[in-house]
Assembly symmetry: C2
Homo-oligomer: 480 residues x 2
């Protein structure tokens, strides 16, 4: 409210449509200047009371950005003035390396414990996951049994599974409970369980039976049994389901939240759509970056030397494959000596094979990620891609051939480039489909290696096809 | 329940972790065989009553897949036996081309009207958006005024804006209303408004003031005023905000649902996280496919010839750039004639320049999409990338140079490749950053053209650097 008094215009997210920095644009409309300057001065002058009351009005993600930009001790001063729950949110919003620093070097285990106590169990687990084992146990020793159990359970699930995504903070009632009873259960649910969409219904063994939307709960008669009003349409998710599959599942069935169960059907927790939003964004980043040949975790903020090292490894492998194609060319030295023009033209065949391959790889890798490409439709996809490769091979081959003929007047070379392009585009479409499909089969993320493996094939094929055909045809036609 | 009797195992989403087709895996656990066979036979034998009761138990997205696999008239028979609301959901789940067929050729306007009436306003608008104008007006003529207004408003927002994403089905109460009043408002809210998370609070002018979670509503005393219990932390979104920014906003602030307002702050509708899930997936697909040189809308099901045409255009442009680099090589024919080895080595420089460029482009394009790369940090990013280019250029240059020297014993050529690689990786990192940044400035999606433009630069630079340096140095050292 305070902020409303200072600032006339309402807090509004507004964009001119192009992709400018979000925080920037948001805060601009919230008159960042105004409040950041205020916040800065409050911190600089160490105005404890004003600060404490003011930061209540600021988004934790904005505070996080703010602290990251500040001097270490100023940032720390601000952080220490946040209420523990805010501290948790800010930690969560920090860049990874900042969070690491705070958790490992700055905060002591009792501070971490205080923060964790105020966080929903999944976030608490995320925070602990950053610490080394002994610090974890030191922190856990400081929080009550009930929370300890929840958090340790969550920590026990492998990253990238539904179990690691879910929160233990849900509200469950018995099939035979009344709506009245359900409401009082809801009332007793912890403050942390605020973003509740559904109340889950379980049987005596705690097995998931169905759900009730809070709307239904409000609109039903207090004495009616939950069994009567519960819906069963929510498909529960098993704890060990891969998180990418969970994401596709949410998008497929348009869920806002879904229950998580163990193998015996016992309700373990719930996953909400906002967790999935992050999964989708991370998975997409991973695929895009990996296809580009950088680590899926690379960010603009990743330390420069680590980045450089990770990338150079990839380039080194690439150097190897490049030498491979070079050796192919070597084989045809004599041919090139005869007709140097070939040296100028051969990269064309390789380049277009590469581009055609990338087109196929992009389509295939993406559809694997979306779960659209299955064993069922692999064959049809291969056929489809090969047909496209054939059609486009003919078209591009003809264009190139004709141009070459018009420029050089050399039919033989024109014919060579036509055939070489045609075949290489066929190869491209075939390998472009098979490599990612194969990688998936052997449980390697197709986004990682596909592009390079395929590119190598098309380079080698491109050069050998072109120069091979050339040496044959030029021999026949006796060109020198 | 019916289904529970037929099938022992509970409906459970379970995965072996690798990315198999989702529907497949889900349904397997729901014993697809069992129910698909049943469904098929019911359809084949035209058992109306059994069919009607059975399909109640099946997910609309599964029915959609099922119909797509069936014979046209069988599918239509099944579709016509669905209740109108189910029909809407199924339409929504259809592949685009199937939905088109149903909406344009199969269903008449009164059928469409019946379906739309049962859909939330945003889906209704999505369905109408597929039709030509006159069919739209024919359909609208058949639905009551209130819905007509809602839908037409939604249709008025440009695609890719918050306005086009939002639904008009929300529950809003006055600041001075009591909780009791709010609950009765909620009660009157249409059946379609079932996935409600918040009740929104507005002032006399309908301007958005805050929100109340249903949990708070349940737990508050009936006579207390909503003004007292409402929260203000939800940042409203403007109707014309770009949908990609809305998505980044949801992920940044972990929202489940957010209110949408107009320029005067009047509450227009709400966007829920499940809409955003689809946005994120679509945007990611678009970027991945475009970076691969295919249309952002290409799917495994896109008609083959259209795909082929769209791709060949891209390849043709590529052919042009390839000829460009070829002409560069032409210039150095004499040099190559002298030392044919150069012909074998020059693709190495181009290839590695290309890979290094892709690494930068992937990082930059992705961070632009995430709104992480801003005018504020562009300079620092360029410096960062160039430094990496320099470091990796030296490393890769040295490795290549040493290998060449060991293999050929030719210092001059070894030195040439070292320098050429070093410079080309520098160029790669520079253009790899600048091109996408520039494209964003001129409002072109960087995902579309970056890769090719950058690749062209690195090819041309690679060949000219390598061959240029070679002709100089070889002349100096007088190698022949």
């Amino acid at each position: 409210m305070e902020r409303d008094e200072q600032i006339e215009t309402p807090d509004v997210l507004e964009f001119d449509g192009d992709h400018e920095d979000l925080s920037e644009t948001v805060s601009l409309n919230r008159q960042e200047k105004l409040w950041t300057e205020l916040l800065e001065s409050l911190v600089r002058e160490r105005k404890d009371t004003e600060l404490t009351s003011f930061i209540k009005e600021v988004y934790s993600s904005d505070i996080a950005d703010f602290i990251e930009k500040m001097e270490q001790e100023d940032g720390l001063y601000l952080f220490r003035h946040l209420p523990p729950d805010e501290q948790g949110d800010v930690l969560y919003e920090f860049e990874d390396h900042v969070r690491d620093r705070y958790l490992r070097d700055i905060l002591n285990s009792s501070e971490v414990a205080a923060i964790i106590l105020e966080q929903p169990s999944d976030r608490a687990a995320d925070i602990l996951a950053e610490l080394d084992l002994e610090s974890v146990s030191r922190v856990l020793a400081r929080i009550p049994y009930e929370d300890r159990v929840k958090v340790t359970e969550l920590l026990s699930y492998p990253e990238n599974t539904a179990g690691a995504l879910m929160t233990k903070d849900f509200v469950a009632v018995q099939q035979n409970d009344t709506v009245k009873k359900a409401i009082s259960t809801l009332r007793r649910a912890s403050e942390r369980t605020d973003d509740i969409q559904f109340i889950y219904v379980v049987d005596e063994e705690g097995a998931y039976k169905g759900h009730i939307s809070l709307k239904q709960l409000i609109l039903s008669r207090p004495q009616s049994r939950v069994k009567r009003i519960m819906k069963e349409e929510l498909l529960p998710i098993r704890a060990y389901t891969d998180r990418e599959d969970v994401a596709n599942f949410f998008t497929r069935y348009d869920f806002i939240a879904a229950p998580v169960i163990d193998d015996r059907g016992v309700l373990l927790g719930r996953i909400t759509a906002d967790d999935i939003l992050e999964v989708l964004q991370e998975e997409a980043s991973e695929d895009i970056l990996r296809m580009g040949g950088v680590s899926g975790e690379e960010r603009l903020t990743t330390p420069l030397l680590r980045t450089s090292l990770q990338r150079v490894v990839w380039l080194a492998v690439n150097l190897g494959t490049a030498f491979l194609s070079a050796s192919v060319i070597q084989v045809f030295e004599k041919t090139i000596e005869k007709v140097v023009l070939l040296a100028a033209l051969m990269p064309i065949v390789a380049a277009l094979g590469g581009s055609a391959a990338n087109q196929t790889v992009a389509l295939v890798v993406r559809n694997i990620a979306l779960g659209e490409l299955t064993d069922a439709n692999t064959r049809s996809t291969v056929t489809r891609e090969i047909t496209i490769g054939l059609i486009n091979g003919i078209i591009i081959g003809l264009i190139a051939g004709i141009i070459i003929f018009l420029v050089t007047g050399n039919q033989a070379i024109a014919l060579v480039i036509l055939l070489a392009l045609l075949f290489n585009l066929l190869v491209a479409s075939f390998v472009g489909t098979m490599v990612p499909v194969f990688l998936r089969k052997v449980k390697v993320d197709p986004a990682i290696a596909s592009s390079m493996m395929v590119a190598t094939c098309t380079d080698v094929m491109g050069f050998s096809l072109f120069l091979g055909l050339a040496s044959v045809l030029l021999h026949i036609t006796g060109t020198t």
